[in-house]
Subunit: 230 residues, 2 copies
């Protein structure tokens, strides 16, 4: 099978020396990729320069991206040529529009004016004691996947922080329905450490618990192949 | 000699999943550390988890930090026990105070109110189409060094982007005077690539050009030891 995996975290530039980065080592995506490769699947891994990666090998293509715009452009054609899409990348929700000194912003009678501006400097000046950064929402890649390829098996991820199990599952189920995903892997940052990774694989009529990255990868592999053998 | 070196780039958290990061691989600090170690100096390297580092060895202490607050706390006592401080780390100029939805900010009659707020959420909600992040200036570590230890030899760095050589040297010279530094290494991001690294070692009455990271390290080593042999 042809499996498309994303891993790592995107970075959105503020200027040439600073970015807003979503934390993710890429470890989970790496283990999922390795699990599928070992069993003979063909894997395309879309990841970042800093993320950990499987060693180079037959049946593995690695594509490096940095920000959400890169990701969108890269993923659209790939979704159309793969059987499964496992979207484990930590994607920036917002990207910088404009940064200005506090005084300038406080004086403005209409903040809307800053949303059409662009910083011209390569390195934004650091004169002001307080600065104000305007950010806009990035496109939600997962919401486009089924339009690009209605037949792809879509596996999404939902990471929350310090919420109840009920809320985590409920948010994951909403994402499952809204994005027409087959599985949402729901996890809470509070339950992730170096050796443990608690996650719920939420499907339409069931949920399965996993307690490590290896177990998440193994369960995903089984569910992908079970579904495609039906 | 006891040489304190910083390298890599600091990260300031927006929330538990996002940070603002200053780009720096740590490569230059690593090469400076290795050059000094090879010649028998004792090195304390304050760096980040993601930065490249010399291999573990005798006479090398590595201390990991993440943000400017960590750095300040770590550096102050170390400055007092070292002969030379080479501050090559890319330090965040600003750190997040508060993030709010655009509508909420646009409605406010006094933006000052947001500067005393703190986000309580572990992961800031991503409902709004536009968000506004307020950031405040971080303390300038280099400006405190000579107060902590008037006898330390201080070597600072100034990175600008796409400026003229004259402007670069002039900004470096201002930093030299303001911070009572012995050398400011002035460089422009446009002149740094994988194999080249153009820099000017700006001193009170002279400047020396270097064309690679190895050359910068070698020149710094010579200048440190020349000064201390007088």
């Amino acid at each position: 099978m042809k499996i498309l995996i994303t891993s790592g975290g995107t970075s959105e530039k503020i200027d040439r020396v600073r970015s807003i980065t979503n934390h993710s080592t890429g470890q989970l995506g790496k283990i999922i990729a390795e699990t599928c490769l070992k069993k003979g699947d063909q894997v395309t891994l879309v990841t970042t320069r800093k993320a950990v990666k499987p060693v180079e090998q037959e049946n593995l293509d690695i594509i490096l991206i940095e920000n959400v715009a890169d990701l969108l452009e890269t993923i659209e054609p790939l979704v159309q040529t793969h059987d499964v899409f496992i979207h484990s990348m930590a994607v920036s929700d917002y990207t910088p529009i404009y940064m200005a000194g506090f005084e300038q912003v406080a004086k403005s009678s209409n903040l809307q004016e800053f949303l059409d501006k662009k910083n011209q400097e390569s390195k934004i000046s650091s004169q002001d004691d307080v600065q104000v950064l305007f950010l806009k929402k990035t496109p939600k890649i997962i919401s486009h996947v089924k339009k690009w390829n209605p037949n792809i098996m879509l596996i999404g991820f939902k990471l929350l922080v310090d919420v109840s199990k009920e809320e985590l599952i409920s948010v994951a189920r909403k994402s499952l329905v809204n994005n027409q995903a087959q599985i949402i892997v729901a996890n809470d940052l509070a339950d992730i450490s170096e050796h443990e990774h608690l996650a719920y694989l939420v499907e339409k009529d069931s949920k399965t618990i996993a307690r490590s990255k290896e177990e998440i990868a193994q369960l995903l592999f089984e569910k992908i192949h079970a579904r495609n053998n039906v």
